[in-house]
């Protein structure tokens, strides 16, 4: 009986709450919405964006109110969620996956007063900005470490979609890998998804079964690292420091840090100084950083650190010649580097990558 009374009392309290409406908010905080392609519990890509969102909350306090919607599918569903966010009074929306692009452009047209920001995208409009990190700088460092540590000379690479972002990462990795170890090869497996832990784990298992002793990934979950940990091979964290999932297998991780960018952009929107920009920040700017170099001999860790410093100092470019295509022809001559335009449209593999674009 007591239990029933308690339930009734709380129900009554809930009814009276709705009847009188929620307590009125302080003068209209600036509202920021985020949509993620995976769950924030992916501990990778979406998780890092959510860390950025939390940094915005911590920085602005009561002035800003944030919210997020996770697991938003790339397709017509994207537009629906964006419209629901915009029509519920959100002032600014960060859409954090490549495949959200078309929907962002459509909805930005319908809601000209809402600021849209699209991560890793290339389409902009008056109220749509794009932003991304130069993650490929980190890939170069991974290539250096892998080239020194591999014994089977076979690196397994779990890739999502053949967009320039992913292809560029594979190539940056392969170029440095081959510079350090001309016999090593990169075996690419396409999983056609950003986030699907069971598929990612299956891909890792298959690659290890085929002889890979180091796993690299361009997907969002730590599933592949967990497989690597179990099977006693090495792997690299992706987007986030995943050492907790693979304490003996993670060599390092390319970590995305969106906090400063998000704080700056929200500030600009609140100040009225926001503009449709295209940001592509690097390790030097702090948008990308490397997790601790672990599970490797000191000399390898020192090489990795030295390479990181050289990249930050501008002495090393991940895409400096000579670079050869898969068929051996020269793409970039000695002393040349690829410009940003070539990087943004990259659709070919370099020497050292086995396999082809997905089918």
């Amino acid at each position: 009986m007591k239990g029933l009374k308690a339930v009734l009392a709380s129900a009554a309290a809930a009814v009276s709450l709705t009847a009188f409406g929620p307590a009125s908010a302080q003068d209209d905080p600036f509202r920021v919405g985020y949509i993620y392609v995976g769950p924030i519990s992916d501990h990778g890509w979406s998780y890092q964006h959510d860390q950025g969102r939390l940094a915005v909350e911590a920085h602005f306090g009561d002035q800003v109110e944030t919210q997020y919607v996770e697991n938003v599918a790339e397709g017509p569903d994207t537009a629906r969620v964006l419209r629901q966010l915009a029509s519920s009074g959100v002032d600014m929306i960060f859409a954090t996956s490549f495949g959200f692009g078309d929907s962002v452009i459509d909805m930005a047209e319908q809601f000209p007063d809402v600021y849209f920001e699209h991560a890793t995208g290339y389409q902009r409009a008056d109220n749509v900005a794009t932003y991304s990190g130069r993650f490929y700088e980190g890939r170069t460092i991974l290539g250096n470490i892998a080239g020194q540590l591999t014994e089977t000379n076979q690196i397994g690479y779990i890739a999502s979609f053949p967009i320039p972002e992913v292809v560029r990462g594979i190539n940056a990795f392969a170029i440095e890998l081959r510079r350090v170890n001309p016999n090593a090869e990169v075996d690419v497996v396409w999983v056609n998804t950003w986030y699907n832990p069971s598929l990612e784990a299956e891909a890792a298992t298959a690659l290890i079964d085929q002889g890979a002793d180091i796993i690299v990934q361009h997907t969002d979950s730590p599933a592949a690292l967990q497989v690597a940990e179990e099977r006693g091979v090495y792997a690299f964290g992706q987007s986030s420091d995943m050492i907790a999932f693979a304490p003996d297998a993670q060599l390092t991780a390319i970590v995305d840090d969106w906090s400063q960018y998000y704080i700056d952009r929200v500030q600009a929107a609140m100040d009225g100084t926001w503009a449709s920009t295209d940001t592509w920040d690097d390790i030097d700017a702090g948008m990308v950083f490397m997790a601790d170099y672990t599970n490797m001999p000191d000399n390898v860790a020192q090489d990795a650190e030295a390479l990181e410093h050289a990249i930050v100092a501008g002495q090393r470019h991940p895409f400096q010649g000579p670079i050869y295509a898969q068929d051996g022809s020269e793409i970039v001559a000695e002393g040349q580097v690829l410009d940003d335009q070539s990087l943004l449209t990259m659709d070919y593999f370099v020497e050292g990558v086995t396999g082809s674009m997905p089918n």
Partner: protein, 361 residues
Amino acid sequence: MIRLVPRTRPSLLLQAGTSILAVLLTLLFGMIMFALLGNPPFEVLSVFLTSPLSSLFDISDLLVKAGPLILIALGLAVGYRANIWNIGAEGQFLLGSIFGMGAVLALGNPATIWAVPIVLIAGAVGGMLWAAIPAALRTAFNASELLTSLMLVYVAQQLLYFMVNQVWKNPLSFGWPETVELNEALQLPALIDGTGIHAGLIIVVTIAAVLAILTFRTTFGYRMRMAELTPKALRFAGFGEKATIWISLLLSGGLAGLAGAIELSATFEKLNDQFSLGYGFTAIIVAFLGRLNPIGIVLGGLLVGFTFVGGDWIRVSHGINDAAADVFQASLLFFVLACDLITRYRVQWVGHGHQKRVPAE
């Protein structure tokens, strides 16, 4: 022990009563779940229940979601009535979209609205061809269409990936697996400007009406309904077993394929690797929600569309986890189907004392 005894004639009052009971149970379940998750249960429920009808855009979203579900379920129900279990509509839907896109490209992506019927017919043909495989395997080798149709879903998904990654990839898509966009003339127009309510929905309503008339107003429909009442009916009255298998699978495959082509033309406007949203599977639930009856299926499709939009809204308004939103959505379907059982069966409690004992040797 519980025993279910079929009712000879479910009363209308009972049917209405159990529907209300289902809704109440869902609301109660939802309140407990949302409260346990630390959300204000009444607020969340009121958003879920009111937002799908709160604006023209939301009604449009609801209809756009319901359209393909209804169309696919209408076809499935015809077969289910004769115990032909096509559960691979998702694959037939994808083949419809692939054939539709094939027609678009074969015609050169023309700027003429007159090509739209060709695209839609191509979609239906694609779905029929895909469903013809389980039909042939069933009639020739007695292979279960339940397994073969399901397996072909995975083949269809791989075929889709292959087409958008290799054969038809848009060279300007930056590697993203998708085709070029359909010429604007080939995109089914919006019936109300600015919304997603598209002309394809007229096709859905028309087909539902035709099937309803066929079922309730013709001798064929009458015989079909009678056939359903006989246990393990594997034939429509007037047709042999093989013909029944072929008709069921071709009709359901064709409508699923048509739904795929309509989705291609009206909402996606291009083919990409995200085309599979699970409509073909959800439509199975819609078919049963509608009790395999065309009018019921329209209502069932609208209800499921409603839960999609409401489920999205509580994610946006209260940050409800999408898994919790899905569970709530599914709980409504669960309670509706569970209560449906009560209308069709009487629950009889059979105590141990009444059981006849077999004397021990």
